[in-house]
């Protein structure tokens, strides 16, 4: 031991969020980030007045996907926390918007990524945050190395 401090949290015990399976996760997140951003951009630019709330939600979802993509692709405790926040918001978002769009379909005349739990996207928007959170648990900077 060169010094008496606690073992490094950035060591090889804990994989970076963008390595191994995380690399695939970042790729899928990136696809959704680009897709959701483009879609929200077109919706807001061309027909925002028709359905402001769903389109604003589309834009919000896009921001969350972009944030999650960037945070998962970076390493370090701060980015890990950002990724955790983004994935949590994403899961809450898809569950809330999914439920609302089923219960009150009239309030959601045009689809967002999260409508009916992401059915239009093979339910990937529902599965993605769960996989993200599981992966973040695996790569947690506070996890005790074994």
């Amino acid at each position: 031991m060169p010094d008496g401090t606690a073992p490094s949290r950035e060591g090889s015990d804990v994989p970076a969020t963008a390595s191994g399976p995380g690399r695939v996760l970042v790729a899928v997140y990136a696809i959704f980030a680009v897709g959701a951003t483009s879609r929200a951009g077109v919706q807001i630019a061309t027909r925002f007045g028709e359905a402001p709330i769903p389109y604003a939600l589309s834009a919000f979802a896009a921001v969350v996907y972009v944030l999650a993509t960037v945070a998962l692709a970076r390493s370090g405790t701060a980015w890990w926390r950002v990724a955790l926040a983004a994935c949590t918001v994403e899961l809450v978002g898809v569950l809330t918007v999914g439920t609302l769009s089923v219960v009150d379909a009239a309030a959601f005349p045009d689809a967002t990524v999260w409508s009916t739990f992401g059915r239009g996207y093979l339910f990937i928007p529902l599965v993605l945050p769960v996989l993200g959170l599981l992966w973040l648990r695996r790569t947690s900077p506070t996890r005790t190395p074994r």
């Binding site: 390595s19 191994g20 399976p21 995380g22 690399r23 695939v24 970042v26 790729a27 899928v28 990136a30 696809i31 680009v34 483009s38 077109v42 630019a45 061309t46």
Partner: protein
């Protein structure tokens, strides 16, 4: 748009995706033959862009021009960007990233076609 050509592009991309995932199951890092497969799919996508450009110049118009161009550009970029991301880590995960990029191509081609014919822009 030429439906038969779009179907051919989608099937080729799916074939390369299946190939990628077989290699993932066999724990292989991305190698040259697979990358050549991706390059072939990319070449077909470039041909598709040329077809679209010719149709646009000859006066035909998609239902939504902005959306159409977005999908056209996206379909051309997904494989190169996916490859850059995949090759930064040469492991089975890199191969899986290539598979994911290939699966995206048929989705984009399908949407490109829908937007062109006007069903659900």
């Amino acid at each position: 748009m030429i439906t038969e050509f779009a179907i051919a592009v989608a099937l080729c991309a799916l074939a390369v995706a299946v190939w990628s995932f077989v290699l993932v199951a066999r724990n292989r890092a991305p190698r040259r033959p697979l990358l050549i497969g991706l390059a072939l799919v990319e070449a077909l996508l470039i041909v598709q862009m040329v077809i679209a450009a010719v149709l646009l110049i000859s006066g035909e118009r998609p239902a939504s021009m902005v959306t159409f161009l977005a999908y056209l550009v996206g379909s051309l970029l997904v494989l190169p960007l996916g490859t850059v991301w995949a090759l930064a880590e040469r492991s089975r995960s890199g191969t899986a990233v290539l598979g994911v990029a290939c699966v995206t191509v048929p989705v984009l081609v399908l949407r490109l076609h829908e937007v062109w014919s006007g069903s659900g822009a």
